[in-house]
Amino acid sequence: MLEVRSLRKEFGDFVAVDDVTFSLPEQGSLAIVGESGSGKTTTARMIAGLETPSGGTVAVAGAERGPGRPRPRARRARGRRIQMVFQDPYSSLDRHQRVGDAVAEAVALHQDLPAAGRRARVAELLDLVGLDERQARSLPKALSGGQRQRVAIARALAAQPRVLILDEAIAALDVSIQAQILALLARIRADTGTALLFITHDLGAVRHISDDVLVMRAGRVVEHGPVGSVLDAPEDPYTRRLIDSIPKPGWKPRRRGEKAA
């Protein structure tokens, strides 16, 4: 479904992403983890086509991304293959657009439906993410972070993508909402076969959300494999440090230099 080969991105002399290669099967789910600045968001933006790679290729559903800035028609075709939900739920919606209209706009761009059909499709999408008619008429500021993120997911699903990238899309939400959204994503994945690509720094959540995990550090892949084996038997020392930094039951904050009990 998604084939990423030797992806590379340079910003001047700085290499943000270096030789990233992985694949994601249909209905698969992969989490890319790493600390801030490890190049995971840049990787996601290149896969989505929002950044031009300095090298390497991205192929989604067999279609490789051409060089240069894509035209809207090509982008729409691409949009049917790949969509992205962004980290900040507060700025990923136009603050002056009613959320129902935002979803309707996405539907109109991807499906040639009569007005009544479009309304039905918008209602269907909003229902899928658990939002109702009343919320559809609200402006983003009247919704909570979790509700906005649901709108962003509904908008992305309007394009019926084969791959959905979630860039720290649930990190800003509180834990109970995170659980709801993860359940929603699992359902979407099962129902539509959409492959999910999570970008996250939260190794603790990875076990619940994905089959595979890819650990990035300073732009390079340090470890890649099924979630169970990577989390339970990490080979790379960096992965081990990341896993050790997950707070566990009975964990107490400890000053630097203090010996562990």
């Binding site: 929002l50 028609r73 075709a77 949009g79 980290q87 991807h110 992305a156």
Partner: protein
Amino acid sequence: MTTAPLSGTTTGTGRTKAKRTRPRDRLTLGAGCVVGLFVLLAVLGPLLAPHDPNAVDPMNVYAGPSATHLLGTDDTGRDLLSRLIAGTRASLAAPAVVVAVSTVLGTLLALTAAWSGGWVDRLVSGALDIVFGFPGLILAVLVAAVFGAGLTAPIVALSIAYLPLITRVVRSAALRERNLPYVSALQLLGAPTARIWTRHLLPNLLPLVLVQATIGFGYALLDVAAISFLGLGSRPPDPEWGLMVSNGAPSILSGQPQQSLYAGLAILIVVVAFNLLGTGLSRRLLGDNA
């Protein structure tokens, strides 16, 4: 019927709590009313003027305020009130054109620069810095001196001089807006650039553009009046305010300051009203989010 009237006469302290506005909002409202009044005068001016603004009356030179001439007459016996009213259109039209041209061009330029980034942005910003370094009024005076008197040349020059003012502010806001994830989301959905501009970026930037245009108007009016005062803009006998100030200047020494005084006051009131309206709008429209 015991219900209180919803509206109607309010005694001194009879305002309801909901209706009470803060003093700063009242100031903005007042400024808006003054601006509205002058715009109305500009539209209806010739109909409202009690006398022909250019009718000379040698028997009535420097007449004081009277029932027929509320503000008196000037050095050739023309009715000052009529001239002020008739002059509103000429005095407001030129700065309106300057602001309209520079706002439309500036906003498009700002959006283009912010959207394209890279060398386009550097070129636009660099060119604007050069124009910004040039004092607008001096540029306009120079152009007027070269192309001869008349308002067309100064209007063109001022429109260019005012470009950086609006473009810089709108560009930085457009840059911020363009980098928000909702724009990336629209691009990913394949929305055409024209649609993203007209449906999303422009409406979101409109309050800022409106505020900048309002504040710019005051400055433009002052500049146009100054050019006419220097004899490079409107020609006599047009009742343009800047020209009236300059026409009346010789009479000030002989104790007849009315013409310059009233025209100067009109300029002062309109400029201050536009500035207050602009800052008030800025507070209202851009207060919480730019």
